[in-house]
C-alpha cells in the first residue's frame, strides 16, 4: 500500500433512508474523499433561499433587516435548484434576479385585525412557483398535523401590518449559511474492536461489569448466557479511549484492541428539508465530479490556450 497508487472503486451502502435523514457506509476510499463529500454537502450543494426583500409596510416590532434575515433562513423546497441558474450568470435577465430561470417571487401580506396576537408564519408566504415553497414539516413529523404550523416570522398585535415582496434565488452554503441544505453532515471511521478472550476470561463478573460500564456509550455487553463480554455495537464507540484506560487501570493492558479502519466511513446526513437527504448526497457527488472535471479540463486546455483564449482560463478557474 505504501506509496503505490492504485485505482479504487469506492462503494456506498445505504443503511437508513428517510426524507431528511440518511445513514450510509462509504468504503474503499480515504479521509480526504470522505471529508470532501462532507464539505460539499454542507457548503456547495445549491438550494433556493430568499435573498432580496422589498418591504412595503412593516409596523411590526421587528425591524426590516431582522425580518429579511428571518425570511432568508426559512428553508424552501429546492428540487429545482440544480437545474436553476445563479442570478449572477443568468443571461435572460442580466442577473437582476427577476426571471423564471434564476428566481422565484414571494409575497407576504399580513395584518392583525383582532385582539389576539397573529403569528405570521412561513405558511403566509405566497410563492409564484408551486415547486418552490417553504418546507412543510407537519406531514413528516408525527405531531398534531391538524394544525398547520409553519416557521414563525413575526408576531403582530392589533393594527400592525407586514407587507412585502421577496425574491428567492439559487445559492450555495459557502456564500451564506441560509443556502446550506445540511443541518448536520458527519462521518466516523468504522471501528474494529478485538477482545482478547483469554485475558477477558481471567476477569470476574464484577470486573467485566465495570469494564462494560466504563464506556459511556453501550459498546460492550455481557452475554447473559455465557457471561462473556461481547461487542454489541462497535459504532457506538466514540474513540474516547475510556475502555482502554479502564483496561489499563485494571492492570490488563491489551484486553481490548480498537483500530479505526482507515478506508471505511459511516456517514450521517441530516437535511434542513430543502432537498431530500438522499438527493443531497447525489448532488454532492455531482458537484464533486464537476469540480474534478474542471481540473481535468485545465490540463487539456493549457496547450489550446491560444485557441480558446480567455475561455480556457475561465473554465480552469471555474
Amino acid at each position: 500500500m505504501e506509496g503505490a497508487s492504485y485505482q479504487r472503486f469506492p462503494k456506498i451502502k445505504i443503511r437508513e433512508l428517510k426524507d431528511d435523514y440518511a445513514k450510509f457506509e462509504l468504503r474503499d476510499t480515504d479521509a480526504s474523499m470522505a471529508n470532501a463529500l462532507r464539505r460539499v454537502m454542507i457548503a456547495e450543494v445549491p438550494t433556493i433561499a430568499i435573498d432580496l426583500v422589498e418591504i412595503e409596510v412593516n409596523s411590526s416590532v421587528l425591524n426590516d433587516e431582522f425580518i429579511a434575515h428571518r425570511l432568508g433562513l426559512i428553508p424552501l423546497t429546492s428540487e429545482r435548484a440544480m437545474s436553476m441558474r445563479f442570478s449572477r450568470d443568468c443571461d435572460a435577465c442580466d442577473g437582476d434576479g427577476q426571471c423564471e430561470f434564476c428566481s422565484v417571487e414571494f409575497h407576504l401580506r399580513a395584518k392583525c385585525m383582532s385582539d389576539q396576537t397573529l403569528d405570521v408564519t412561513s405558511n403566509d408566504l405566497y410563492s409564484s412557483d408551486h415547486t418552490v415553497v417553504p418546507v412543510n414539516f407537519t406531514d413528516s413529523a408525527g405531531y398534531d398535523s391538524s394544525e398547520q404550523r409553519g416557521i414563525i416570522i413575526v408576531k403582530l398585535r392589533r393594527g400592525q401590518e407586514l407587507r412585502l415582496r421577496a425574491i428567492a434565488r439559487k445559492g450555495i452554503g459557502k456564500d451564506h449559511a441560509k443556502w446550506s441544505p445540511a443541518a448536520t453532515v458527519t462521518f466516523m471511521y468504522e471501528p474494529e474492536i478485538h477482545i482478547n478472550e483469554d485475558m477477558m476470561d481471567t476477569l470476574t463478573l464484577e470486573e467485566k461489569q465495570s469494564f462494560v460500564e466504563s464506556s459511556p456509550t453501550r459498546v460492550f455487553d455481557i452475554d447473559p448466557n455465557t457471561q462473556q463480554v461481547v461487542v454489541v455495537d462497535p459504532e457506538a464507540y466514540t474513540y474516547d479511549d475510556e475502555v482502554l484506560k479502564k483496561a489499563e487501570a485494571m492492570g490488563k493492558p491489551g484486553l481490548v484492541e480498537i483500530y479505526a479502519k482507515e478506508d471505511s466511513f459511516i456517514f450521517t446526513v441530516e437535511s434542513t428539508g430543502a432537498i431530500k437527504a438522499s438527493q443531497m448526497v447525489l448532488n454532492a457527488i455531482d458537484i464533486l465530479k464537476q469540480k474534478l472535471d474542471a481540473v481535468r479540463l485545465s490540463e487539456d486546455t493549457v496547450e489550446a490556450d491560444d485557441q480558446f483564449g480567455e475561455l480556457g482560463a475561465h473554465m480552469r478557474g471555474g
Partner: protein, 758 residues
C-alpha cells in the same frame, strides 16, 4: 437669603442635577465641587440598575496616596460588595451595595412620610420602661462603668450597665415583632464595656439614609420569617453573626452567635451574583466580569420602539443562559437577556486564536448569532435657533423643485422610514418662511444608517417645531469585535471561519460556534468557566437549566443534609455520562479541513457569551490624505474629523532601530508637511522671500500650444534681489518656527551649500 428668589434656587438645583456641578463661591465646605450626579446610561439593564446601587466615596479620596480608604472594613461587610468594584484608579472608592442591602427612607412602605418625632417618643417610652433614666440638666450622672450612656439620635439618657444586655435583647425583640412600638430599621448600636476599645454606650439611630440589611436573629425562637432583623453598619461590628456554613467561625464559646446570615450570596451585589459558580474563580476575574457585564450589548429595555435615547445598544437574538444563579431567576433577568449560549471549543486551531483572540463560526453568525444594532436619535428643534428673529419662521419642508434631495427627504422635510442613508447624505430639510432660506441636515461621518422612526412634537398645533429622528446602525459581528464569557475571559474575534472549516464531532456532527485558546485558562484560573461548559452541556442534554449559585454547598450543610454528597464535578460529570458523553466534557473532534481525527480530545460545550459594546465599526481609524492643520500643515488628529494616528517618538525610535531611514523620511516628512521653501542664500532668510507678480504682458500665442507660463519669479525683500534664491525641501513647521522666532526678534538664518556633508 431674602435676595435670592425661589426661581433662582430652582434654576441652581436644576443646574446641579444636569451637570453635577456646584456653582458656589464659598465651596460650602464640601470636598468636591463636581460629580454630584451621574447620568444613568441605559447601555443594558445591569448597568442601569448598578447606577442606582453604587456608592462613591468622593472624588477627593481618589487622589489620596493611602490605600486605607479603599479597603473593605468590617462595618461595610455585607453592605458593600467586595467583588463589584472597578479595578484601577477608582478601586474601592466606587462601591456597589449588596443585593440585600437597603437604605432607610423618609417614607414608609405605604409611601407616607414617617413621623420621626413620634417614632423617637415611642422608643423613648420603651427605654424608660426598661429602666433608662432620662438626663435632666444639672443632675449628676454616673458614667461608665456603672452606667451606660444611651443616645437616641443624639438625645442622652443613661442606663445601668448590668441591665444593658437585657435591654438590647428586648429592643431587638421588639424590632422584629409586629408591634409598631419600635421601627424595624432601628439601629441598636450597643458598644459594651471594654478596655481601650470604643467608648461604651447604647447608640440608637432611627434616621433615614442609613444602610440596613436583613440577618436572622437566632436568639429569638423562630416562627415563620418573624426572626429576620434589619441591622446597620454601626451595630454589626459589635454583633455576633454566624455564617451559614455551619462552623463557629473561630468564635469562642463565651460569645455565642446571636445572629445568622440569611444567605452566603447576600454579601455580593446583584451583578456579582450573576456570575455562575463565582466561588470557583480567581477573585479578580469576578471583578472583571462585573465590569464587562455592564458593557454588554443586550436588551436594554422593552419599549424600544417608543424611545428616543441618544444611543441605545440592542442585541437582536439573545438567549437565556442554561447555567444560571438563583439571582438570575429572582430578578427576572430573562426580560433583559444579555448573551448567547455559544458552543465553545477550547483548542488551538489555525493559530488565529492566539493571545485571547477567538474564532467565530461564520455560518453561525450568518444564522443570527450575536447580531445587533445601535439606535441613535437626532433631535431637531426649530425653537432652539440662535437668533430670536429666526424663531418661528422655519418650518420642516422640502421644496418640490428640489430634486437633489427628493430621494432622501419627503415633501414634509422629514426622511422616509426605512430609508438607507449613507454618510454625508441629507435626511432632513427646513425652510425659512420669510427669507426662503433652506437648510438641510446631513449625516456626519461615512457610516451607513437606516431611518428607524420619526417622532414629531404635536404640542404646537400650527406647524411642527421639533422632531426626533431615530437611526439604526447594523452591528453584526465582524473581525475585531469584542466578546466575553461571564468569567472575565474577554477576547476579540480574529477570524470568521466557515462551518466546513471548523472541527466537527464525529458522533453528533456539531461544529463549535466559537473557538478559544487553551492558554486562556492556566494563568487566569477561571475554573467556573470550565464548570459552566460541562454543566451547560449536561443541562442541554437533559433539557433543564442548571443552578450555579455560588457557595451553595455551604447552604446545604445548614439544612442538615449530609455533606457527604458528591462533589460538583461528579454531579455534572454523571449528567454527561448518562447521555453517553465523556465524563470530563471532552469530545473527539475531527479536523474540518482534513477530516482526520484531532490528536487530543477537545473540551467543548456551551458557554454563555456576552457581546461587548466595543466594536471596530465605531473605532477604526484610517486615512490616506485629508484635512491638515492650518498652522503646521501636518495631518490633524481625531477619528471624527478624518484625522490620522500619531506616528510618535517611540515609533520613530523603532524605525531608526530597524534602519528604515527612507521609510521614516516618508512617514515623517513626505506624507506629513512636506514643503518646498524659497531661501535667500545671501541673507539666509526664508521669511523675506516673496513671489514677484510678473508684469502683465501679452503673451504671444503660438498656434496650437497653450500659452507659455511665465516662470515664477521669487525675490528677497531684504536683499532686494532675486539672485541668491534657492529652493529647499523642509517641513512646513520649520517655516512656522522661523516665523515664531521672528516675532520674538530672533532671526534665523540658513546656510546653504550643495553636496552632502559640505
Amino acid at each position: 437669603m431674602e435676595k435670592i428668589s425661589p426661581k433662582q434656587i430652582g434654576a441652581a438645583i436644576e443646574n446641579l442635577l444636569k451637570t453635577g456641578r456646584l456653582v458656589t463661591q464659598t465651596g460650602l465646605d464640601l470636598q468636591q465641587r463636581a460629580g454630584f450626579t451621574v447620568q444613568a446610561e441605559r447601555l443594558n439593564y445591569l448597568r442601569f440598575i448598578s447606577f442606582f446601587r453604587s456608592v462613591h466615596r468622593g472624588a477627593s479620596f481618589a487622589g489620596l496616596r493611602t490605600t486605607s480608604v479603599r479597603k473593605l472594613l468590617p462595618e461595610s461587610w455585607g453592605f458593600l460588595c467586595p467583588v463589584h468594584t472597578p479595578d484601577g484608579e477608582p478601586c474601592g472608592l466606587l462601591n456597589h451595595m449588596t443585593c440585600t442591602c437597603r437604605i432607610t427612607s423618609y417614607y414608609n412602605s405605604q409611601g407616607i412620610i414617617r413621623d420621626f418625632f413620634k417614632i423617637r417618643m415611642s422608643i423613648l417610652n420603651v427605654l424608660v420602661g426598661v429602666g433608662m433614666t432620662t438626663s435632666w440638666p444639672k443632675v449628676d450622672h454616673d458614667g461608665p462603668p456603672q452606667a451606660l450612656p444611651v443616645l437616641l439620635d443624639g438625645v442622652i439618657g443613661s442606663l445601668s450597665t448590668s441591665e444593658a444586655d437585657k435591654v438590647v435583647a428586648h429592643l431587638r425583640n421588639l424590632k422584629v415583632s409586629d408591634s409598631s412600638v419600635i421601627p424595624d430599621d432601628l439601629e441598636v448600636g450597643y458598644v459594651p464595656l471594654s478596655l481601650g476599645g470604643t467608648y461604651p454606650g447604647l447608640y440608637l439611630f432611627t434616621s433615614p439614609s442609613r444602610f440596613i440589611r436583613p440577618v436572622r436573629n437566632i436568639s429569638i425562637p423562630s416562627s415563620d420569617e418573624k426572626d429576620i432583623e434589619l441591622i446597620g453598619p454601626f451595630e454589626q461590628v459589635f454583633m455576633e453573626i454566624k455564617c451559614p456554613d455551619g462552623g463557629d467561625g473561630g468564635r469562642s464559646t463565651t460569645f455565642p452567635a446571636t445572629h445568622e446570615e440569611l444567605l452566603p450570596t447576600a454579601m455580593l451585589s446583584v451583578v456579582a451574583n450573576l456570575t455562575p459558580w463565582s466561588d470557583h474563580n480567581q477573585s479578580p476575574r469576578n471583578m472583571y466580569q462585573c465590569q464587562m457585564a455592564k458593557q454588554t450589548m443586550a436588551f436594554s429595555l422593552q419599549a424600544l420602539h417608543s424611545r428616543a435615547d441618544q444611543k441605545l445598544y440592542h442585541l437582536q437574538t439573545p438567549q437565556t443562559p442554561i447555567v444560571r444563579t438563583k439571582t438570575y431567576t429572582k430578578y427576572c433577568l430573562d426580560n433583559y437577556p444579555s448573551g448567547t449560549n455559544a458552543i465553545v471549543a477550547v483548542l488551538a486551531y489555525t493559530g488565529y486564536d492566539m493571545e485571547d483572540a477567538m474564532i467565530l463560526n461564520k455560518s453561525s453568525v450568518e444564522r443570527g448569532m450575536c447580531h445587533g444594532q445601535i439606535y441613535q436619535t437626532e433631535t431637531i428643534d426649530l425653537c432652539e435657533g440662535k437668533s430670536k428673529s429666526d424663531r418661528g419662521q422655519r418650518i420642516f419642508k422640502r421644496e418640490h423643485s428640489d430634486k437633489a434631495i427628493s430621494s432622501f427627504v419627503d415633501s414634509d422635510g422629514l426622511p422616509y422610514i426605512g430609508q438607507v442613508i449613507h454618510g454625508g447624505e441629507p435626511y432632513c430639510s427646513t425652510i425659512n418662511q420669510v427669507t426662503n432660506a433652506k437648510r438641510t441636515y446631513s449625516r456626519k461621518g461615512s457610516e451607513m444608517a437606516i431611518v428607524d422612526y420619526v417622532s414629531v412634537d404635536t404640542k404646537n398645533k400650527n406647524h411642527l417645531q421639533k422632531v426626533n429622528i431615530r437611526f439604526r446602525h447594523p452591528r453584526n459581528p465582524v473581525i475585531g469585535d469584542k466578546f466575553s464569557s461571564r468569567h472575565g475571559q474577554k477576547g476579540v474575534c480574529s477570524q470568521l471561519w466557515p462551518d466546513i472549516d471548523m472541527p466537527f464531532s464525529g458522533v453528533t456532527g456539531m461544529r463549535p460556534d466559537l473557538i478559544i485558546n487553551p492558554h486562556a485558562f492556566p494563568s487566569r484560573m477561571t475554573i467556573a468557566m470550565l464548570l459552566e461548559s460541562v454543566a451547560a452541556k449536561g443541562g442541554s442534554l437533559h433539557g433543564k437549566f442548571v443552578d450555579a449559585t455560588p457557595f451553595s454547598d455551604s447552604v446545604k450543610g445548614a439544612d442538615g443534609k449530609t455533606q457527604e454528597s458528591e462533589s460538583l464535578v461528579d454531579e455534572l460529570g454523571s449528567m454527561l455520562r448518562a447521555r453517553g458523553f465523556n465524563y470530563h466534557g471532552v469530545e473527539v473532534l475531527y479536523s474540518g479541513v482534513y477530516g482526520t481525527e484531532l490528536t487530543c480530545e477537545i473540551f467543548i460545550g456551551p458557554v454563555y457569551y456576552q457581546r461587548l459594546r466595543h466594536m471596530v465599526s465605531d473605532k477604526y481609524q484610517v486615512r490616506a490624505t485629508g484635512q491638515v492643520d492650518q498652522i503646521t500643515r501636518q495631518p490633524i488628529k481625531g477619528r471624527k474629523r478624518g484625522g490620522g494616528i500619531r506616528f510618535g517618538e517611540m515609533e520613530r525610535d523603532s524605525m531608526l532601530a530597524h534602519g528604515a531611514a527612507y521609510l521614516l523620511h516618508d512617514r515623517l516628512h513626505t506624507c506629513s508637511d512636506y514643503h518646498i521653501a524659497d531661501v535667500c542664500s545671501l541673507c539666509g532668510s526664508i521669511l523675506t522671500t516673496a513671489i514677484v507678480q510678473p508684469q502683465k504682458r501679452a503673451v504671444r500665442e503660438i498656434g496650437g500650444l497653450p500659452p507659455a507660463r511665465a516662470p515664477k519669479k521669487v525675490m528677497c525683500h531684504a536683499c532686494q534681489t532675486s539672485k541668491g534664491m534657492e529652493t529647499v525641501a523642509m517641513p512646513y513647521v520649520f517655516r512656522y518656527l522661523a516665523a515664531e522666532l521672528a516675532a520674538m526678534n530672533i532671526k534665523m538664518t540658513l546656510q546653504l551649500s550643495s553636496g552632502a556633508g559640505a
